[in-house]
Symmetry: C2
Subunit: 332 residues, 2 copies
DNA sequence: TTGAAAGCGCTAACAG
DNA sequence: CTGTTAGCGCTTTCAA
């Protein structure tokens, strides 16, 4: 493989000049530059970026930790991350964690071995929680965040968004609302539940007016949770699922049981994944600015990498949008 | 940052011994090893893998080129790639190409700059087509392949799978079948069309019995293509879409027009993405072994990287499975 | 504007 | 089993 020395010999200049020709072309005379470029061309020279990065102690790679890349909401975020990173000269290392702390830690450690310059974490945990404040690598948490963060976080107003869904259902006239929530220990679940409670209270209803079933964000868990909700003596007339996939699972189950949506039960989701505007019925949901999440995460992370001192561990809140579609209607 | 020299001093041994302790622990006496490990621990030493890889001229990274990471079929494949790569000590670099040849080339070139050891390409193009046979980096094409490949390919029996769908529709009694195909220039589209033609012929029907509309694998394109098919004087009674997302778009449009699926029109898809078993109606489709695609791609690629001479540019065909669900039924 | 030379952190002969 | 040393390909002083 042609290296900088091959080129320097071919061009009759020093290796330093070859290096300059590619990194700071202006510091080289037009004449020499041409000579070097020609030689490089002839030799089929490609700079060894591993060597360059090694020397610069920078990998120009960003590690992205995602619980489940097959989740369409996450993959939209990753699209946003990828495109912003690419335009800044960073490459994306993908780490599918399946929510396992061990894999998370393994991947996050790639920062310590200089394989990545920073980490974007898509779930609510801090892989560097054991490190003292001054020694924490660049990290940004997005989407699912947690209390007392030591790194910047970018998230939705989950409480407000959940309240918006509940308000919508209340306005339609629903008074018994079922909820299929996410993992119980997640701050995201907690925030959305808070929003639900607040919205109910404002209409003079107690949270106990809501029947809550457990889900895990998988379509199947939405499917199964419906049985729990429909077996209550006071059946809900509307069901709010904490993501669209569970909503799709719920709708499937409701239909399998011989009921219709929204005729017999209204169903609302969260995220506004692509299929939600085409599903049968189309899904009332909360739109999250997925690409923006990704883009901002990269912006903030790059700032942490380039100028750590300028970064405060900020909390950013991105706006949601209530999208009302065919899956919600007044109770029959 | 602690390096190998810091540790060597702290432990009172040479740098070589420290290196050995971590790369070939057996070649070091138990005693020294303990000493070194303690020193490393104390110094907070982490081997600089950038330096190690640089020296080994290997990045232990695999570049994955994907047209659109938001496509759920692709993200399932990537899951498979990721998990196999991880277990082999490789990391995954993600390149979203949007089908643009330029981005494809940019990302693929990271092999030349030593940022990746090989490329897995999820669409039908060869980013190294301009390179002479001996100089081609490790590359594996999966899912969408092409003729006269210079690198290994792993794909489905697209022709057979398409034929299986057509057979299924014919058996149900459909005689006028509409097709929403993929991009016209894609070998994948061509292969599936061939399968359709073969299946029709076997029942004594000409391919002209099939009305073909253009799609691009997006849900919206399936939605729009329905108008083309339903405006024909001889309307099809069944529609075969070349992926599930177009099928979902098609079903949406058919219902918007006041018809039912499968009552008025049967619809079949391709891929068996997660939502297809929950959609309304559930989708008849072809199951592709997505995770296996990913796993095999990594296996073959690693073989190319480790022992290029043992690899023939093989063509592997993975098995499909016809999944009949609620979206297809006899014509009314 | 250019060249000589040191060195990033690591591994691998080679010698002992 | 352990140490010395050269060198991977590149950038960057420092001098000329």
């Amino acid at each position: 493989m042609a290296n900088i020395r091959t080129v320097s010999k071919l061009a009759g200049v020093s290796v330093a000049t070859v290096s300059r020709t590619f990194s700071t072309p202006d510091s080289v005379s037009e004449n020499t530059r041409k000579k070097v470029e020609k030689a490089a061309e002839k030799a089929g020279y490609r700079p060894n970026l591993m060597a360059r990065n090694f020397r610069a102690k920078r990998s120009f790679a960003i590690m992205v930790l995602v619980p489940n890349i097959a989740n369409p909401f996450f993959s939209r975020i990753i699209s946003g991350i990828e495109s912003e990173a690419q335009s800044r000269g960073y490459s994306i290392l993908l780490g599918n964690t399946n929510g396992q702390a061990e894999r998370e830690a393994d991947y996050a450690n790639m920062v310590h071995t200089f394989q990545a310059d920073g980490v974007i974490q898509l779930s609510a945990s801090d892989p560097f929680s054991d490190l003292p404040l001054g020694k924490r690598p660049a990290l940004v948490n997005i989407c699912e965040c947690y209390d007392n963060p030591l790194s910047p976080q970018i998230q939705l107003d989950n409480s407000g968004a959940a309240a918006a869904i509940i308000d919508h259902l209340l306005e339609l006239g629903h008074r018994r609302i079922g909820i299929i929530k996410g993992p119980a220990d997640s701050p995201l679940t907690r925030d959305r539940l808070e929003g639900c409670a607040a919205a109910l209270k404002q209409t003079g209803l107690e949270m106990s007016a809501a029947a809550i079933a457990q889900g895990d964000f998988s379509t199947r868990s939405g499917f199964e949770a419906v049985d729990t909700l429909l077996s209550l003596r006071k059946r809900p007339t509307a069901i709010f699922c904490f993501n669209d996939e569970m909503a799709i699972g719920a709708i499937r189950r409701i239909r399998d049981l011989g009921y219709s949506v929204p005729g017999d039960f209204s169903v609302a989701g969260f995220d506004d994944i692509a299929v939600s505007s085409f599903s049968v019925p189309t899904l009332t949901t909360i739109h999250q600015p997925a690409a923006t999440f990704g883009r901002r995460a990269v912006e903030v992370l790059c700032q942490m990498i380039d100028a750590p001192e300028t970064v405060t561990h900020s909390q950013e809140i991105l706006p949601y949008k209530l999208i009302t579609r065919g899956s919600t209607a007044p109770p029959s």
